[in-house]
Amino acid sequence: MRQKTVAIVLLAALALVAAAYGGGKGGATTTGATAKGTSGAVSSQRRGGTLRVVRTESFDGWVLDSAAAYASYQTDAAVIEGLLRPGADGKSVTPGLAESWAPNPKAHTWTFKLRKNARFSDRSPVTSKDVIFSLGIWKAGPNFGGSYVNIKSATAPDKRTVVFKLGSAYDNTFLALMASSVSGVMPANFGSKGKVAYYQHPIGAGAFKVDTWTVGGRIVLVRNPYFYDPKRPYVDKVVIDVVADDSERKILFDSGQADIVEYVSAATAAQYDRSKLDVLLPSQIEHLSLNVSHPPFNDVRVRRAVANAIDYQSIIKGPFSGFGAPAKGILAPNLAGWAPPTQPYYSTNLKRAKALLAGSSAPHGAAVELIYDSGVASDVLVAQVLKDNLGKLGFNVKLTGLETGAFVGRAFSVNSDMTLWSYGAISPDISDPLGWFLGTKWLFTGLPTDTLRKQFGSYRTAATRKGRIVVITKIQNQAITDAHAIALTQFQVIHGVNTHVSGFASAPWGLSFYDTVSLNR
């Protein structure tokens, strides 16, 4: 994953297609994903050992709502498990703490049945009271609290049953929301620890419990002896280290000191043994956002000219080392609910670009600024490609590479002419990217989001799959017409997985569960 790609966790839950709607025991099952590593059925996976993971991103901490990095979602989910889990195919949900779930006929309420043997790491049983307490925490979160707005109440007919009452029926985002790592179940009243103490040493019902951790430093997780599946986790311990340097991560991997390297950058992936790379389906979008609030990009003709001037193939072959493909739209692919636009996406056509520009308010180009995160190697290269491409139209592009914190500040202020970044989903539904667009002033372009907000609401409550496709297609087409946010490429998350690792199965955006992994050495 990109170091600085921010997951869009507007986990508007989405009842995933028919399989998810069916609920029932187990709900949707994991499909479509094959476990990476040595072959072998799950039952033959060896127990024991310490799984060593290295990553480039820092962990945000155990406050689920504050999670902004993939590193955080990944780690949070290992300790603070939710009712559901996202499937490794990126589109389904699978049982978590809940063994079954089902809607009433109009999907106005959802009834979840907790596993009999679900226990927190302090041995206390997971009850419906804990889920209701956790719902209060989720709803109060400043980042994702809005995602839960359609959950009007939750009741507990008994200790193992939770009934969620929704404000509107057919909320297609609900199940994906419950599968997100932000919806982890915490013990009621934080297990009597107090909020601050809890977040320093959390208790969850996940496969692991926290042994030690430091912000941005080493995280050590050990087996939760009370995990609901007595066969898992296979490994006794997970040691996660943050290693910022690409070369150092590769050295650790080659020396065998790291079993898994999470989110290998495309720029360095070519240095790895290809057989040890888990290259997932494309799920990330690299985008160039044009500020529509002032000249020259307040003119749609100028924006379309830019979109036609970009050399997309160079970006894929160069900065992304071929680990990408031409984008089909602004929405990240391989998510439930995704639909393509009905019109072709932009391609390089310099002649058309010049013609469009000639008839615009900036016929000779302009001096513009492009900001990007200088800590992301591929963005540094993409920026240079764009400078060259736009130079052919007469634009004088000032490249401003910023340190991550400074970049985030400026991006959210929407005060630059162009912003280069990327995003990917974190829940198995297209509503996730939509929520990100809403929260970022339409991907840092400053385009009013009223229409998008209405479309999001329509998607959420569409009663049929066809209805959902219509909404998404409209959004995709509108983004092409407006040309305010241009998808430069759709690229893949890449993990490095050593050959002695079995059972590693990652969703396209990179999220995996450590309890399925075993070590054969």
Partner: protein, 314 residues
């Protein structure tokens, strides 16, 4: 007033010095771009939520008030709480300082082990091939960037031999020792050349003095001459230089710890800076300042002890 008075006076002088450093860092953080509140609350928080947290943390108050509050807490020994982890900053530093102490200690030991014999060899064989080789080697060591040296050591020593881990600090003391060797060697390779030049020059100067000639004429062996007369007199300048180097070593530790994935204060500072974790940044910086000031003070005292010509006056 003798040595005790000297030390007491120097200690008192460090207080305004440290407060000044804290003030500079405080002001620099105020002008650094990037919103720490957004890093705390999250990227998706609304402006209202950000403003509420900003108010709660007192970040809207005048800078003078914020600085005054911070100093008042410092004087009580309270370094505050990390914005990211909610842990006390003192605990965070405590968790990491051991690693950096290991790195610095082993780094200084290796530096001395490299510097002293090479300086002596270079000085007593002045302008001969050995001298040229040592000085050329020192120049190479000085010009190579630390992170590159570190990576080269990993590729040429750690990976092929497996004697040393490629990163991390290990869990037991023997593992700590193995883990720290290559990072400490990287530090030493960057530090020793300057000390070699200085000590070599001092030794050559002392070797040419009259009392050394007298000692030789009285039959004192070369080895005893170097050990008992020359080194002690030549070392004073190098001790001062070593103290200056320790300050740079500490900041070099930031690069080394990042390269070798060592969980020390250097890595902690980098992570705190990235996350705009202001209390942690201030805490780490204060630690660095205290260490550097303490080392300079120790160096002055050591110099006075080594060289009786340096008097400590009130």
């Amino acid at each position: 007033m003798g040595r005790f008075g000297f030390v007491a006076k120097r200690l008192l002088q460090t207080v305004p010095l440290l407060l000044g450093i804290v003030l500079i860092v405080f002001l620099l953080l105020k002008v650094t771009p990037g919103d720490p509140v957004r890093q705390i609350v999250g990227l998706r928080a609304s402006q209202e939520q950000l403003d509420a947290v900003r108010k709660q943390l007192g970040l809207n108050d005048p800078v003078v008030a914020q600085y005054g509050r911070y100093v008042a807490r410092l004087l009580r020994g309270d370094l505050g709480y990390s914005y990211k982890s909610l842990q006390p900053v003192s605990t965070m530093i405590g968790d990491r300082i051991g690693v950096t102490a290991w790195l610095m200690s082993v780094g200084i030991i290796l530096t001395l082990l490299i510097t002293v014999p090479l300086s002596i060899a270079s000085a007593i064989r002045k302008d001969r091939p050995v001298d040229h080789v040592i000085r050329a080697g020192g120049l190479v060591g000085l010009t190579m960037p630390a992170f590159w040296v570190g990576v080269m050591l990993l590729l040429t020593v750690a990976l092929p031999t497996g004697w040393f881990p490629a990163g991390g600090f290990g869990d037991t003391i023997p593992q700590h020792a193995r883990s720290i060797f290559l990072p400490a060697l990287t530090l030493a390779i960057g530090t020793a050349p300057i000390l070699i030049r200085s000590l070599r020059a001092s030794i050559i100067s002392v070797l040419g003095s009259e009392y050394v000639a007298t000692a030789r004429s009285l039959g004192v062996s070369e080895a005893r001459l170097i050990r008992r007369f020359v080194l002690r007199n030549a070392a004073a300048a190098s001790v001062t230089l070593l103290a200056l180097e320790i300050g740079f070593l500490l900041f070099g530790a930031v690069v080394i710890e990042t390269t070798f994935a060592l969980p020390g204060v250097g890595q902690g500072l980098v992570l705190a800076a990235r996350g705009r974790d202001l209390p942690a940044i201030q805490g780490y910086t204060l630690l660095f300042a205290i260490v550097v000031v303490a080392v300079y003070l120790a160096s002055d005292i050591a110099t006075a002890l080594l060289d009786p010509r340096v008097e400590i006056r009130s």
